[in-house]
Amino acid sequence: MKKLFSRRGFLPGFGMTMGYTIIYLSLLVLIPLSVLFLKASTLSWEQFVGTILDARVLASIRVSILTSFFAACVNAVFGVLVAWVLTRYQFPGKRIIDGIVDLPFALPTAVGGIALTSIYAENGWIGQYLAEWGIKVAYTPIGIWVALTFIGLPFVVRTVQPVLQDWDLQMEEAAATLGATRFHTFTRVILPHLLPAIITGFALAFARALGEYGSVVFISGNMPLKTEIVPLLIMTKLEQFDYAGATAIATVMLVASFVMLLMINYLQWRMNKFDAAR
């Protein structure tokens, strides 16, 4: 053992920290999550497929994925914008804005959901004006999208911000001396560099949005086949003491999220490896 690790470098503590990491991870995440699979496996294959392929489940998966995807997209765009504005520009209230970005983490999601509903409902602060234009937000998929955008924003901002802070301004200067406009510089030079961070932020926001329940149920209207999200269906199954069915759906979503995260981490790693190559 000692020999094996000593080759990794002279720094002490690899065995201990790695061991601790693995044990802690196993106890807190892996073992509990494996129970999920165990429970789902009490269903026969037909039952499992039946549960997943039920029209309402499929519809809710569609709603969940679409709204989460659009929310993550919007977050990717505006998250970058916010991170950009926060790192590049000076303006009054910058610190407050910077801090408020973390709000969705701190506020219980249900409170967030209710607050958003009160703003975007037809008689809400903003909803009333939107209603005049015939736009309904609350109790439609748009409402779900609003809630998911709310909870996902910090992920993108907080992953992009440090990368922007470390960004070497000389690249932009180089582009300028070569005659590139600001637009070209941004799209062709800066954006490709930010892309890995944006993708990570996007993935985290997307994964989180898929699982979000508390804030969505208040604003979605929960109409089956229309505005019902996957976590709500899981709750419905639980209400009916159908643990196996609930875990079946949860398992599918979890595996999907895991694969996506893994792909993104791998992508990231590939890019970094590229960079490190001599």
């Binding site: 920290t17 409170v111 703003i119 602060w125």
Partner: protein, 288 residues
């Protein structure tokens, strides 16, 4: 620096768009929470937040955060050390596994602990013989909270430690420092802001977590109700103003962490500025 920035009108429009977006998605909800809280006047507000059950919920919330945040900090630091300072196979999978709790629906996060420790759960016989209670008690709440806040510190620290490199550690060891001393006296001071930032995010989420905790808490008033659960119960009792009043406590908490973070950043920035100033001094000195 004209070439690396946009014309003022672009700059200000971007700022305006950012403000608009944040206003619609973050600031307005925050204002809404406060408005709702004070809808029935300050009396109701103060009565709600000084209610004994609120106070006990505050206590429990702080307790849970006080346990799970240090747990995750310890883990985050250990994981960051192993991942950032060494190279080994399967780093990606490990990183993804650390990210995994972000992808798990909070409801499911609670459920898995019920499936594990509930009376029909896998560990039930063991718990029965030991006469241990995990779910519907504080340990369950701590577990669920720790689960959902699991990645924050590690996620924050790993890039910081990676950027830091191993130079200073090598120097310390070559000067005769032991592993522990190197860690305490060299590594830790260098990543302290990273840790603090991770702690702030982790703490915010730990205090605000609702879904997972709701499943494992049992909602026993004055005993296993955290602040977010208390908000829910008040809400379910048609005490909307009181519910939002308690919610403002959490929002204020977020704002406090904001202040803490700002102070920290301001301090680091100042340190940085000092460095810059000295940089000038040095060049002056040398030329002189």
């Amino acid at each position: 620096m004209k070439h690396v920035t946009e014309p003022a009108y672009v700059r200000w429009s971007l700022i305006a768009v950012a403000f608009l977006f944040l206003g619609l998605f973050l600031i307005l909800p925050l204002i809404a929470v406060f408005t709702e809280a004070f809808k029935q006047g300050a009396d109701v507000f103060f009565a709600a937040i000084s209610d004994p059950e609120t106070l006990s919920a505050v206590k429990l919330t702080l307790l849970v955060a006080a346990i799970s945040v240090p747990l995750n900090v310890t883990f985050g630091v250990a994981a960051a050390w192993a991942i950032a300072k060494f190279s080994f196979r399967g780093k990606n999978v490990l990183l993804t596994l650390i990210d995994l709790p972000f992808a798990v629906s909070p409801v499911i996060a609670g459920l898995i602990f019920v499936l594990l420790f509930g009376s029909e759960g896998i560990a039930a016989p063991l718990l029965a013989t030991l006469d241990l209670k995990i779910i519907f008690a504080v340990p369950g709440i701590v577990l669920a909270t720790t689960f959902v806040t699991f990645p924050f510190v590690a996620r924050e620290l790993i890039p910081v430690m990676e950027a830091q490199g191993k130079d200073e550690e090598e120097a310390a060891v070559s000067l005769g420092a032991s592993g522990w001393k190197t860690f305490w006296r060299v590594t830790l001071p260098n990543v302290k802001w990273g840790i603090l930032y991770g702690v702030i995010l982790c703490n915010a989420r730990a205090m605000g977590e609702f879904g997972a905790v709701s499943v494992v808490s049992g909602h026993i008033r004055g005993m296993t109700n955290t602040l977010p659960l208390h908000v829910e119960i008040l809400y379910n009792e048609y005490q909307f103003a009181a519910a939002f009043s308690v919610a403002t406590l959490l929002a204020v908490l977020a704002l406090v962490t904001l202040v803490v973070k700002s102070v920290i950043e301001w301090k680091t920035e100042r340190q940085f500025e000092v460095e810059e100033e000295y940089h000038f001094d040095v060049s002056g000195e040398r030329a002189g």
